[in-house]
């Protein structure tokens, strides 16, 4: 199993190189060149050339790529054009904030989805099943930024119960595990969890329903197993399919939602990307994209490894 995980890790190297190539190309795909973004339009040509030489833009592209890759691998992602702070620090802070929100939303969405989906699949009355199907349909259909605004209007503007924006109380820096910070998390967590809730509930419901119709469930009943024990068998069978969907949803959440983080002014990666796009802050864009892509790959790897652990039929070859 460990060997399998290690081999999969090695397979990630070419993928990671591909990603880095794309991220590098970002600079050259964008209209204009990076130098014209930082110098005034009327700068003399000698200054521009000097800058190009200073930043290495006069070298051929492959050389530029290798140099950039070498520097990036040491953890140096460059300096933000917008703030002048190192990209690594900016991205790390934003990423930490997004992760906190993503974990909360993931826990909320997945636990609720497993309970609702299982209940619907087991439901003897059609009403329960219909109700859950309706909830999951709403989850995937309602625009989550709209829901976010509605939540703010109800709970912050009308009821005044929860803070409408920010990561914590004013003039507090960073995130801490305390009441005021948790209160700030409630609304963004809910808004962020609706899509994964809908998607995962639907998957759990249909997977479990299919498994319940299988012969081995009848065979388990025929040998006198308790309902709880049968549920254990069913859940383990449903796990690989559900985990695959959960992995993708968790990946989306870690990517951070530009819309949700913008509505709640949550200083995460989505928020950072949004401002970087408007400021044409290429180093930030590159750094964030690279880190996110890396995390997405690791998450997929984790899901694959867990799947092979749960389902012996998946070949470890």
């Amino acid at each position: 199993m460990l060997l399998y995980a290690l081999r999969r890790l090695v397979y990630l190297i070419p993928v990671a190189l591909g990603v880095s190539l794309l991220v590098f190309a970002l600079v050259h795909l964008a209209p204009g060149d990076p130098i014209s973004a930082i110098v005034p339009p009327d700068a003399p040509k000698e200054v521009v050339d000097k800058l190009k030489e200073y930043y290495g833009f006069d070298k051929p592209l492959p050389v530029q790529y290798l140099r950039w890759l070498g520097v990036t691998l040491t953890g140096d992602f460059g300096t933000s054009i917008g703030t002048g702070r190192p990209v690594a620090t900016e991205v790390a802070t934003a990423f930490g904030n997004t992760i906190i929100l993503a974990i909360a939303a993931t826990l909320l969405a997945f636990s609720l989805a497993v309970i609702l989906g299982t209940a619907a699949a087991y439901a003897k009355s059609r009403i329960v099943d219909r109700l859950v199907t309706f909830i999951s349909l709403v989850g995937v259909s309602v625009p989550h930024f709209w829901l976010a605004i509605v939540l703010v209007i109800i709970f912050s503007v009308e009821l005044g119960a929860l803070p409408p924006m920010g990561i914590g109380p004013e003039n507090a820096t960073g995130w801490r595990l305390d009441g005021p910070h948790l209160a700030h998390m409630v609304l963004p967590t809910i808004a962020l969890s609706v899509i994964p809730l809908g998607v995962v509930t639907r998957t759990v419901r249909s997977t479990i329903k299919e498994i319940l119709g299988m012969e081995f469930v009848t065979a388990l009943r025929a040998k006198g197993m308790s309902d709880g024990r049968i549920l254990l068998h069913v859940l383990k069978n449903a796990a690989p399919t559900c985990l695959a969907v959960m992995g993708l949803q968790a990946g989306n959440l870690i990517g951070g939602s530009i819309l949700i983080e913008t509505v709640f002014a949550w200083p995460g990666t989505g928020f950072l990307l949004n401002s970087a796009i408007f400021r044409r802050d290429l180093p930030i864009l590159q750094g964030t994209t690279l880190v996110l892509a890396f995390f997405f790959m690791m998450l997929n790897l984790a899901v694959d490894v867990i799947q092979t652990m749960v389902d012996p039929r998946i070949k470890r070859g």
Binding site: E215, A219, R221, M225, H233
Partner: protein, 320 residues
């Protein structure tokens, strides 16, 4: 001598909002301890439904039962959930048609046998695994210790069915229900499994109900054979008599439609028509529409069960 199992006037009806199916319509039979009863019938004749009713495996919400199923004097149709789950896998065990789908694919064979032993005997995990290993030896699975750690997909069809038999015998049942256990297997493996079932049945003095549509298989394993049609037993006789002197036109047709050596070039005799739709409960002889000998009285009322010899009963007006 008291009977192990007594089934009386069993009717099983499935009711869904869309339609109703009268799957079993008045089954009555007895099974002695240590006896093997073969139930022969084509698809949809209600043989599997009857078998599964003995464990009450059908969804409670959509199934209507009437009549009586008594196991060693206990009424199965009136059992509470606790008694029922003690019965299942404990006093009555079942082997399924397709061992590939009857085992949970993500648990090992050993886990699945051991959990059954733990459930019914209260043995410790270690003792349950030791017993599981003995059982695999009993059904002659080579290198049993390794096989316990195997997943169902890592075994061959015949091996899986042996493991299924080991699972069924794990808690010393007095009644074994076999639902076409050889249908999904290769011919050579079929015979091995049949011989194994017969041998174990004798060794443990098991009552066995063996459901099949294969006449050869039924003749091979059974002491008595009951032929089912449209949810009823239409003829019941000891094996030799069923083979030599079947009385009911359907039994005769069924036995005539088998293929055996020395028939090359001859036209195979088939029964014309198809089994009846069971949306309504039959009010007359269900076979009459396909019967060559049908008369007016066949469609007027259900034919009575007539005894034509010791232990040989036929549900046909011609035999009465």
């Amino acid at each position: 001598m008291s009977n192990l199992l007594e089934v009386r006037d069993l009717c099983v009806t499935f009711v869904t909002p869309d339609r109703t199916v009268h799957a079993v319509n008045g089954m009555s039979f007895d099974l002695r301890r240590g006896e093997t009863l073969g139930i022969l019938g084509e698809s949809g004749s209600g043989k599997s439904v009857t078998l599964r009713s003995i464990l009450r495996l059908h969804p409670e919400r959509r199934t209507r039962w009437s009549g009586s199923i008594r196991l060693e004097g206990d009424e199965v149709l009136e059992m509470g959930p606790r008694a029922l789950s003690d019965l299942r896998g404990g006093r009555v065990a079942m082997i399924f048609q397709e061992p590939a789908t009857a085992f949970d694919p993500v648990f090992t064979i050993g886990q699945q046998i051991a959990e059954t032993i733990r459930r019914h005997t209260g043995k410790s995990d270690t003792d349950a695994w030791r017993r599981a290993r003995e059982l695999l030896e009993l059904v002659r699975i080579p290198s049993p210790a390794q096989r316990l750690k195997a997943y169902p997909h890592e075994m061959s069809g015949g091996m899986r069915q042996r493991a299924m038999i080991a699972l069924a015998l794990s808690c010393n049942p007095s009644l074994l229900l076999a639902d076409e256990p050889t249908t999904a297997l290769d011919a050579t493996v079929q015979i091995q499994v049949l011989l194994l079932v017969r041998e174990l049945q004798r060794e443990f003095d098991l009552g066995v109900i063996f459901v099949t549509h294969d006449i050869g298989v039924a003749v091979e394993v059974s002491d008595r054979i009951g032929v089912m049609y449209a949810g009823k037993i239409i003829e019941m006789a000891p094996v030799a008599e069923m083979v030599d002197a079947p009385q009911h036109p359907y039994s005769r047709g069924l036995l005539a439609s088998t293929v055996h050596g020395g028939m090359r070039g001859q036209r195979l005799e088939a029964i014309p028509g198809a089994p009846p739709d069971l949306a309504t409960a039959p009010t007359a002889c269900s076979f009459a529409p396909r019967c060559r000998f049908a008369e007016a009285r066949c469609t007027a009322a259900p034919p009575p069960l007539a005894a034509v010899a010791e232990g040989h009963q036929v549900r046909c007006v011609l035999a009465a």
